[in-house]
Symmetry: D3
Subunit: 320 residues, 6 copies
């Protein structure tokens, strides 16, 4: 049966679908009756859920966090829509369609992946090529790279978001590198391909997007440069030595690509290539963020609501 | 006779050339003899000049500032090269080659100008087209636009620098606009073409680059938006009305293209187009600045000297 | 019938008055019954309004936003006062007293306007006088100038607020100019009179205070300097030329009067007159803001609540 | 004999005058001959002084720092004017005119002092009056108050500068207080009179302006509030109790009058009176600073040189 | 009877205990019936309290703020626990155990006090010793010093918190002074003992922690240095003169111990001793704050919730 | 023969010693004669050196940079001491005493090294112990660790400086850990031992202190965490697995020990242990810096000259 999305539920409907349950809690009313409060979620939003006449064993069976199959009914309570649940069980994992719960890039993953490989396939420097090939040969990592979100909330925060962001940055770089002949294109392309690879270890995205413990303690910038060095060591073990100059020029792009100390870069850009990657990253992120904020704002005025990270509202009336 | 550039003068040479004179001053030695101290300059640098046994009338004849024909000889004095001048006269203006004194873009001005016209010729929105055409029809302004420097010192600080910067920004925009289909390309291209037009009134570049009084009091951002509105009023007088929405969307790009209040923008970017112009402007400026700083640094280490505006040295060892 | 102010309504009263309606929305209860939720407002505050047993046609008749004549009753619901509306119609515009809805300066507008004209009447410089007279002769603009608020929220945010602020700044300038004989008083007075004139285009104040689209995209500082230049061009067309030095000195006061880049000034003060206008503007704004915050704070302690823009509470115990 | 000011000495003059000597040092030439290097100063500047064929006893007789009577001759050496001294003795203190060495306010001290007393004489609050009278009765302090500079370099850095600054602030306050009827004028006037009193202990100005050790360790803001409390305690000992509310409201003006933490205020303004004193202080300081920078700049362009503390050049062309 | 702590009340319990009442307010329902809303608090939290069928005289008898003896019952209302009160009277002050209402250091006050006296008893410099002894002899002050909180919320915000913080800082100083032999230990120890003494006047802690009016207007740093000077004056009156150098070195530690202007220090550290006190203060405060935030966070993840003042979550998984 | 230190050379002395030569340059006088200009340096300072009547082959023989044996004579030229060199040869490397050229910790390296091993020998956690032992077993690294400077200029900028700083931090930690029982001492001690280990790769110190290319591109923080992970991988290869929790808690201390993003930390402290290491690092660095600045300042006033990084002068008068 097709999923019923949270943002499409009206009052008075019968609900028999799978949702992600969050923060279930067992409470008692003033008369001593037990009930369960929780949130029922999918990628479009969340609603309060209530189970009246609950029991402790019922509570214990709810996966925390996890997916549940419910039977219930939508109601308005004190002006808010909620779902009164009559029956709840852990969902059959075969019936869960993860894409109902996690937003997904609207681009075709395989197409993007092929175009990425085509663009970085053009790298001529042998050592950089060796490094790139070592990454491409790491199937487990590449698989994660193709699904990982690009971030938690600011931009490209969807399954495949990291891939989409990297893909578009590579396309921008390909388009403008001919206009800057002094810039070493191979370094720029290799730098873009690898620059956020550590996000595959910083973020989890099994049932919802969140940071790993290790991700929060170490951060994706440091994780990325450690990945790079492991690949270089593995190559060295096979007799392919990477010059320190090349390894450090590439590493420097990773370490400086946030552009400012206050954005968590431990180094400021000090090469033309590092500056270019930093600008392309910021441009592509901001274009994605601005476009999405304009699309998603629900009002119908010419302006979106106030966007704190941009310190402005956004104007969305088009000129035609 | 060919000009002898300042940075090519060795000790012990006879000098009979034209230089720009700066800060001439009449002084007396402890024995009461008068002498003149001054700087002799061209686009490659400056040297101290001295006229011993000077007189007040000799001093009065020196244009301040201006070009002088000198006869003299280069000497080392206290470890510094200087020019002892025996004869000085105001230079014959026909013999002055202004390009010896002001750095000039190394790109072909006409080629850039034709490509600019080709790119903005692709604008389809009729009102934006009318505005652009009004600028193109202002021959006096376009002539200044083709020679004006892009700035005083940071980037594109040469004759034709504003043209080169605008040209390259338009090329970057043309290259990446297809990758951002939601962004209104006509607005971006028109915005780039006009964005720094006020620099033609902010800067003078007759004998050297400097700010006009009006430029310092008002600034090129405000001057640019006033130019835009004058063009719109002139069009209105001819019966071509520009919608407020279009005029303000274009004006907003001008007002916000420095991206931050602390860089003198009175508005922060609030449209996708304003963000894109702001990023392209910054990217192209920084690429020019970084490339030039690397080229011009005289040391022979892998690093340039400390670059205060970038808060770092620049690494210039290439990977091949 | 006299207006019943929102902040004077008690539970259990019959309400038959005109209010400004905001954000009306048609919803259905869990039983499928339609109802309308909205805010009912005047200058003293707002209350929730509810229409039970509503219909779509009833909803369509409500002006959005606009003034409505209601019949209803005030009730406490979940500890909050709300108005249950039985009947709602668009209000007869003749019966609307706009001053019930928009706060108004408590000073006499005409008196202030006469005093402004008297003070700037003392300007002796002929060119500045010509500019001032051109503004005074623009009746439509002067009419707006006399009603426009001084801002959205921080200070002088009331009908006539811009006039009051300008008036008081002129009075302060008149009082202290004799103490600073080197400062050119004519420039200061003309600068103050014009400095915020663009707010008449930045703000709307028909039913409530808000920004125009153009105001948000361009800002009142840029709008003001464009007004000034239009007046100068109109004078030039009549043969009255304004020296660039005078026009730019006056324009510079406008562009720098916020004093800092981060407050949206594209120029920092660079003349004694610009510094003086900037300080008087800030002083008068802050005095108005502080006085009003102290007056309006509802608590009865010696301190107001925390004032975020001032980073402090305010102490209001007086010494006598 | 009249003093010969440093900035009026030409090469080749015989010099027999008194100067302030700074940093005298005994050195030997490569041939082993001893000589003394030092600076000779007055309020208009300083020059290098040299004594050739010096001896250790000659060196020991020079006061460090102090005033010396010299005989010598001005010379140009390596393009710089210097004084070759043939004879040097400690100056007869009766012959020293301290005003040749320390810049002095160009206003009449007694007139300002009388006007200050007149203005603060208008304070009606009895407790504030008692505090003011306690300060006025402290003759030793008032004497220092009348000569102390207003600062080291930014503004009012001259003998009598603190008095002039306080006097002008009181005049500004008197002029504008009637325009702000909610502001408690007695507090403002008392606050201004006392606000910088601690500078009399922070600065020394016997032979040149400098900070005392105690001034640098403690600062004038803290010293001022301690003075205030000592006066209050002395009054209490005589049976005149000052209410805590009054003492703290006055103290708060002192502690917050720099307006921002980064300017060394340990408190931000939290009363209308504190805001007003803070603005008047800043306005008067800036007017003095700007006027003086414009006057003293030696160039003849329309702009002064770059003023680092103001982050701009200053434009000084007047409109008439 | 033992106190029933707020955070231990379950629905459906009979409550007959003493609580601190906050913000009581008399309201009427839509039917015109009066009721009283209030908060009932102790050191573990607060709950809504309601008295239905209230009267104005009942309301008047409630101390504001103060302690009340209530009879009532806990209920869930709209998912929140509240207390319905049937009977309320001002509490018998003998039955109030203040420690139920104000958090208290979990260290032994007397032990800490003895150890503080032991450590500062080791000060050898006679003048510093005289100052310390003057503080120790001020019994009233020392009594307050032993109960005063260390702050309002950030760290050591409990009865005895100031003592605990000072005690631990002295222990840290004692432990590390031997490692820094150039640092004058006597100054460090005396500085620590006195550094926050003014908090005894800045804070009140009778029924809850809050700032005094004087505390907010003047601040504890200024109050502390004024205390120090009063002690020095009292000693001087007895013939014990404190050298200016010593008094100012000690005063400087007080004035600079927040380390930065933006934290309210009017002076930056300028002696080795001031730097050491500043670091020890910050270290001990942060250790207390971090430890407590980790302990008190109620979640069961490896991370606490976001800590705004630290700009991070805290990780609390231990390594064993 | 004993070295003659630069800061002990007087005019007129014969010089036959070894110096480090910097920036040698071959120039010609105005008469066409060749001469060599250079700096002659040791750890106490540098002087100008001149070789008159030089030749190109003479110039080519000078190591750049490197040590030279010179014969010459000290002279005063234009008030500056310089060395006129008659003979110059590359120095015999056996005769070079590197400690004449690079400042050296005044503590005993071996004693410190033994104490470090003793302190970290107390670590009980087996996994941390394994990591520490892996570092200790890396003889080449430990050798570098014992000579590496602690920084370029701010603090501990001497041979053995890194060791001294680490040693003292471990002593401070040992002294205060008992006072903070909740803090995991093993993590703190291990974190301190490793925290700056990457400086051994960031800095070179063969003839003078400078950054390596790799050091500037990557930075010591990233280099340190990569070292840590290599050790952990090597242990894993031997079957000793380090828990991710432990590795990341230790890594987090490294990444956050500068405490703020603007100091190059890519992570802010998020554990009690990371806060403690960060504070101890800063405290020890500042104590070293302040003590040294006070010692080395040459003036004889109570204050050092202005210390830009500390934004203050330092007061050095002691209390006894």
């Amino acid at each position: 049966m097709e999923h019923k999305f949270i943002n499409q539920i009206n009052p008075g409907e019968t609900i028999e679908h799978i949702y992600l349950v969050k923060d279930p809690i067992l409470r008692s009313t003033s008369r001593g009756d037990l009930y369960i409060a929780m949130f029922l979620c999918d990628k479009t939003g969340q609603l309060n859920g209530r189970i009246w006449q609950a029991s402790e064993s019922m509570y214990n069976e709810i996966p925390k966090p996890g997916f549940v199959q419910i039977k219930g009914r939508s109601e308005i309570y004190q002006n808010n829509l909620q779902i009164v649940v009559n029956n709840i069980t852990a969902a059959d994992s075969k019936k869960i369609n993860i894409e109902d719960f996690l937003a997904h890039t609207d681009k075709n993953v395989d197409t993007m992946w092929q175009e990425i490989k085509r663009i970085i396939g053009g790298i001529k420097n042998k050592q950089l090529k060796a490094i790139i090939d070592a990454f491409l040969a790491d199937e487990k990592l590449m698989k994660r790279f193709c699904v990982c979100p690009g971030g938690m909330s600011m931009h490209h925060d969807c399954i495949g978001g990291l891939l989409e962001h990297t893909w578009n940055m590579l396309r921008v770089a390909s388009a403008i590198l001919p206009l800057y002949p002094d810039v070493q294109g191979d370094l720029v392309l290799a730098g873009i391909f690898i620059h956020d690879m550590g996000k595959t270890e910083e973020l989890t995205y099994d049932t919802a997007f969140s940071y790993t413990d290790s991700g929060q303690l170490i951060g994706h910038i440091t994780k990325t440069i450690m990945m790079l060095h492991k690949k270089a060591e593995a190559l060295a073990a096979k007799g392919v030595t990477i010059d320190e100059n090349i390894l450090d020029s590439l590493g420097h792009i990773i370490l400086s690509h946030h552009g400012k100390y206050e954005f968590g870069s431990p180094k400021l850009p000090a090469t033309a290539e590092a500056f270019m990657v930093c600008y392309i990253d910021d441009l592509d992120a901001k274009m994605n963020q601005v476009t999405r904020l304009i699309e998603e704002d629900r009002g119908d005025s010419n302006w979106t609501c106030w966007q704190k990270p941009l310190e402005t509202k956004l104007y969305r009336k088009r000129i035609e």
